[in-house]
Each structure stands twice: as C-alpha cells, then as structure tokens.
Amino acid sequence: GAGVSQSPSNKVTEKGKDVELRCDPISGHTALYWYRQSLGQGLEFLIYFQGNSAPDKSGLPSDRFSAERTGGSVSTLTIQRTQQEDSAVYLCASSLGATAEAFFGQGTRLTVV
C-alpha cells in the first residue's frame, strides 16, 4: 500500500474484553512503532520493532499489553482485559530504519465502555 494502514479505524469494546489492533507498515520498512494518544494529549511510546532485533517493550504500560510483528511486516497490538483508561487513539508508524522519516497511520480509536 501507499502508506501505513491501521485497522479497525474505530473500536468500541466492553470493559474486560480483549482487543487486537492491526498495523500494516509501508513495504520494506524495517522499523515499526506503536504509540498511544489520549484525547488532546501527546504521544506515549508503547513498543518499537527494529529489524530482527529484540523489540523495545519499555513503554508498555502493563502486562495486559503485548505486541508482535510477524515476518518483519504486519504487527498486532493486543490489549487483554481492557479497562476504561485504555481508551485512546493507538497510532502505528514505520520507517526505513534509524533516523529515517517515520510515517504514521491514521490510528485506531479505541473506546472501552
């Protein structure tokens, strides 16, 4: 595709349910990032994949959050037992590598009710 694609664009889930958010990076991009943006707030780093290196998971807020990147391409962010405070826009970005421009998707707006 021409850009970073995220799905779904919107997700409403009940408290306690698990959700999976998908990110299709730009083809050939070795780096992939997940960020969380609460309403009117900045970008909170969650997890970073760079090539075949072990991912940097230092931003994951709790063990309910996990992410994987299959085949160096598509990534899935999973939130287990969702809580209301998980409501936010989850943004994925990819880049060619170190210090390269990061291209963001449009985000997935998650609402936990």
Binding site: V4, L43, L91, A93, Q106
Partner: protein, 111 residues
Amino acid sequence: QQQVKQSPQSLIVQKGGISIINCAYENTAFDYFPWYQQFPGKGPALLIAIRPDVSEKKEGRFTISFNKSAKQFSLHIMDSQPGDSATYFCAAYTGRRALTFGSGTRLQVQP
C-alpha cells in the same frame, strides 16, 4: 533522560505573524530532531527535521533553530496561515530507541 520538554502547550497567532515553539532535551545521545504536524483525526506527519551538526534548517516558511550547547531546539513558522492551525510535536531520536515526542503544542492561527 529520555524526556523532551515542549512549550507552550497552546499558541494563538494572528495571520501573518510568527509562531515559535520550543523544545529542550537532556539526553546528549539524541542525534535526530524532527518536528511533526498533526491535524484533527489524522496521524502526525513529518514537517521538518534537523541533525545536531547544523544550527538552522529552513524549508519554506518553516525553520528549525538548534542550540546544541543549550540542548534546545525550536520551530519557527513565518507568515503563519490559518491552514497551519494544527498540533505540533517535537521529537528526538537516538537510533537505539523509538522517537521520543514532546507533549505537543496546539497552534491556532486567527484570520
């Protein structure tokens, strides 16, 4: 060490004026400093970026000024236009970790 502090939180500028947003960092390992622009409902998009070996970079109406000794950098938007109204994020990068973003500045340019 990984923080990037951004100010102001919001900014109102008249059309044709200069918008200035400031950022400061602590980690001297940062070696790439981009600015991102975000419109409502969209993901952030790269606006302009600088490396610490230069003190200024200009692209059209947008200029980054970089002060390595003070560990500060700023975005200047000359001749600000209503279409520039957006949220601006500074960021910093080391190559070993993901981009670290500032808290954002909501810019409103009044016609």
